[in-house]
Amino acid sequence: MHPLLNLTQVTKSFGDLEVLREIDLEIRSGEVVGLVGSNGAGKTTLLRLMAGVYQPTQGTVLLADGKPVSQMRQALGVVPESTGLYSRLTAWENIRYHSRMHGVSDKDAWARTAKFAEHLGMVESLGRHTKGFSRGMRQKTALLRALAHGPSILLLDEPTAGLDITSARTVRKLVNQLKTEGGTVVYSTHQLSEAQQVCDRIVIVHNGEIRADGPPQELLENTGTDTLEEAYVSLTKDTARPRQEDDSKEGRFTGLWRSFFTPKPPKMPDRGESDE
C-alpha cells in the first residue's frame, strides 16, 4: 500500500485556540482509516485540512506527488457532516453539479452514479428534488455525489450520524464494498463499534492530538485492554475540551454585546441544601 496523503507536523489554530497540534498522519492506498474522537476533538478540522478547505497554521498536507491538496481536489471525494445538498435541485442535479466542477462529463458521472445508486437503493430517487429527502437519503445522495468523479480518496465526516439502523448499515456496506474494490476512505465517527466494523486502521483523536494510530488489534495490544472502548478510555483519560471553534470566530464586540444581554444562570445549590 503506497501513501496517498501525508500530513506532517500539522498544527491548526483559530486565533488563540489551537485545535490541532503537531499531527503526523499518512493515508495509504486501499485502506479505510477511522478518525475516532469525542465532539470537539478535532476530527472535522482534520478532515477539512485533508480536503484543503483549511490551510495548516504549521506543517504540510501533501498528496503523494508532493502537491498541496488544495491544488488537486479532483483526487478527493468529500461528504461533509451537513451533506450540503441544494434542496431546489434534484439528487442527480446535485451530483452532476459537483462532477461538472470536477471536470467529469455528465455521461461518465451518470455511469458511476447509476452503479452506486443501485447499491444504495437510490435509483428511483435520483430525479426527485432533495427538499423532502430523509437524513438517510440525503447522506446517500451526498455519497453518490462524492463518488461520481472517481476520487482516489473518500473523506466522510460522520456519515452515519443521525441515520436509522438500515440506512447506517447501507452506508457501511458501501464503504466495505469500496474497500474490496481497493478504494481509500477516511471515515470520521465517534462510535467505536462502527469504526471496528468498517476500518482497517483507527486513529484516536483527542483534544487536538493523535493519541493512537493502528489496526484495532494493535490498539488493544498496546493498551493491554480487551475492548476498543476500554482502549479508548485509557488513551483519553484527560477531560475532553468543549467544542469552541465557532465561538472563536465571533467578533469581540459581538461577543461582548451578547453577554451584556445574557443573564447568568441561577447558582447551583450546595450539596447540603440539595440533600435536604
Binding site: R48, M72, S82, E93, G103, D246
Partner: protein, 406 residues
C-alpha cells in the same frame, strides 16, 4: 482566463440561476412585482383616484348655515355645489371658529359641516366647522370653500364695477401674452429628460441595490447557514471562481430584474406620453450606451459589496440586518444628488462614490455628453468596482466561511 475557469464560473452561475428560478416566491418579489409596479402606479392609480373622485362628486351633502343675514347669491352657489342646507341663527360666540355647542353635531356626523357667516359693516367673517377625519365632512368643506371663493370673486367684481372701475384692468394689470409652453425653447424631449432625470437615477440606484440584496444573501450567507458551502469549498474551483460564478448569477438576476422594471417604467411613461402628461426623452445612441455603461459599473460595485458583506455574515438574519440598512447609503446620496445644480458643476462631484453614477445618469438623461465628466465617473467607478471586487474576494478567501451556525 482559462477554459476550465470559464467552465466552472458558468457552471456555478447556471446552478445559482436555476435554483433561483425554481423559487416562485423570489421570482414574484424580484421580477414580477417590480415589472408591474410602475404600470400599476402610473396607470391604475390615477384611474382609481378618478373613480374615487367621481364617488365623492356624487355625494349629497347636508350642512347647516348659521347666519343672521345670508346673501341670496351665496345660497345659490352652495346649492349649485350639490349641498343641501338649513339656516339657523348664529350662536353667541366671540369667534366663529369656536365649535361651542355645535361640537357634538359635527363630531357625530349628524351634519357634514356648519358654515358660520356674519356680515360686519362691509365685510363678511366666516368659519366652517368640519371633521377632517371624515370623507363626507372634508368633501363638504372643499365644496363650501369653492362656493365661497366663487361668491367672493363675484362680490369683488360687483364692488369694482360699483366703484366705476374696469374689472379686468383692476384685477389683472399684468398679463402673459401668448402660449407659455411656446416660449420655452427646450424641446419636449429635453423637458421630458429633465423631469425623468429627477427620479430615474434614484429609482435605478435603489432598484439595483434592492434587486441584488436577496440573491446575494441567499447565495452566500444562505449557503453558509444551510451548510452547503462546505461541500462547495471542497470542489476543485478556486474561491475567486466561486465569487465570479456567484457574481455572474446575482448580476444576471439583478440585470433581468432592472431591465424588466425599466420596461415597465417605459410602458407607463409611453402611456402617459400618449395622454400628454410627460414626453419621451430625446437620447442619442452614444448617450444610451453611456447610460447602460454607468448602470453596469454601478451594478458591479453594488453586487460585489453585497456579496462580500453577506459572505462575512454567519446567517441570513445577520446578513439582512447588515445589508438592509445600507440601502440608506444609496438613498441619501441619491436624494442629495437631485438638488445639485448641473449647470457649471465642479468636476470633483463625479469622483465621489455613488454620487458620481447618479450625477452621470442625470446628465446623460439631459443628453449632455461632457467628455471630462465621463472620464472621471467612468475611471473612478471602475476603481471603486475593482476595490469592491477585491474586498469581496478577500471575504471569499476567509477560512471561517466554512463554519455555519447550524
Amino acid at each position: 482566463m482559462s477554459e476550465v475557469t470559464m467552465h466552472r464560473i458558468k457552471a456555478i452561475a447556471k446552478k445559482e440561476v436555476v435554483e433561483f428560478v425554481r423559487d416562485w416566491r423570489t421570482i414574484m418579489a424580484i421580477i414580477v412585482i417590480p415589472l408591474l409596479m410602475f404600470p400599476l402606479l402610473f396607470i391604475l392609480f390615477p384611474v382609481l383616484l378618478e373613480s374615487e373622485a367621481a364617488e365623492l362628486d356624487a355625494l349629497e351633502l347636508s350642512i347647516v348655515i348659521q347666519s343672521e343675514e345670508i346673501d341670496a347669491s351665496l345660497e345659490q352657489s352652495i346649492m349649485d355645489a350639490g349641498i343641501a342646507f338649513v339656516v339657523e341663527p348664529l350662536p353667541n360666540l366671540t369667534v366663529l371658529s369656536d365649535p361651542g355647542e355645535d361640537l357634538d353635531r359635527v363630531r357625530n356626523s349628524s351634519v357634514d359641516a356648519i358654515l358660520r357667516i356674519d356680515k360686519v359693516n362691509t365685510t363678511w367673517n366666516y368659519a366652517i366647522l368640519h371633521l377632517s377625519t371624515s370623507e363626507r365632512s372634508n368633501e363638504a368643506w372643499n365644496r363650501l370653500i369653492d362656493a365661497l371663493l366663487l361668491w367672493e370673486s363675484e362680490e369683488v367684481e360687483r364692488r369694482i364695477i360699483d366703484s366705476g372701475l374696469d374689472v379686468n384692468a383692476t384685477l389683472d394689470p399684468l398679463r402673459w401674452d401668448g402660449d407659455v409652453a411656446q416660449s420655452d425653447v427646450a424641446t419636449s424631449g429635453e423637458q421630458a429628460g429633465m423631469v425623468l432625470s429627477l427620479f430615474i437615477p434614484l429609482v435605478l440606484a435603489i432598484w439595483t441595490y434592492s434587486s441584488a440584496l436577496q440573491p446575494s444573501i441567499d447565495m452566500t450567507a444562505g449557503e453558509r447557514e444551510r451548510g452547503t458551502l462546505e461541500a462547495l469549498l471542497c470542489l476543485p474551483c478556486t474561491r475567486l471562481e466561486l465569487l465570479l460564478g456567484k457574481w455572474v448569477a446575482v448580476a444576471t438576476i439583478t440585470g433581468v430584474g432592472v431591465i424588466l422594471q425599466i420596461f415597465g417604467l417605459l410602458f407607463a411613461i409611453g402611456y402617459l406620453a400618449s395622454s400628454s402628461v410627460i414626453g419621451l426623452p430625446e437620447l442619442s445612441i452614444v448617450t444610451v450606451l453611456l447610460l447602460i455603461a454607468a448602470i453596469l459599473l454601478f451594478a458591479v460595485m453594488v453586487v460585489a459589496v453585497e456579496l462580500a458583506l453577506a459572505m462575512r455574515s454567519h446567517s441570513v438574519k445577520e446578513a439582512g440586518s447588515i445589508l438592509a440598512p445600507m440601502l440608506l447609503l444609496i438613498v441619501f446620496p441619491a436624494l442629495f444628488t437631485q438638488v445639485i445644480n448641473l449647470d457649471g458643476i465642479e468636476s470633483f462631484w463625479f469622483a465621489i462614490p455613488v454620487v458620481n453614477i447618479l450625477l452621470a445618469l442625470r446628465e446623460l438623461l439631459l443628453n449632455r455628453v461632457i467628455t471630462e465628466h465621463i472620464v472621471i465617473w467612468a475611471g473612478t467607478s471602475i476603481l471603486y468596482a475593482a476595490l469592491a471586487a477585491y474586498y469581496a474576494s478577500r471575504q471569499f478567501n476567509r477560512e471561517d466561511i466554512v463554519t455555519s451556525l447550524s
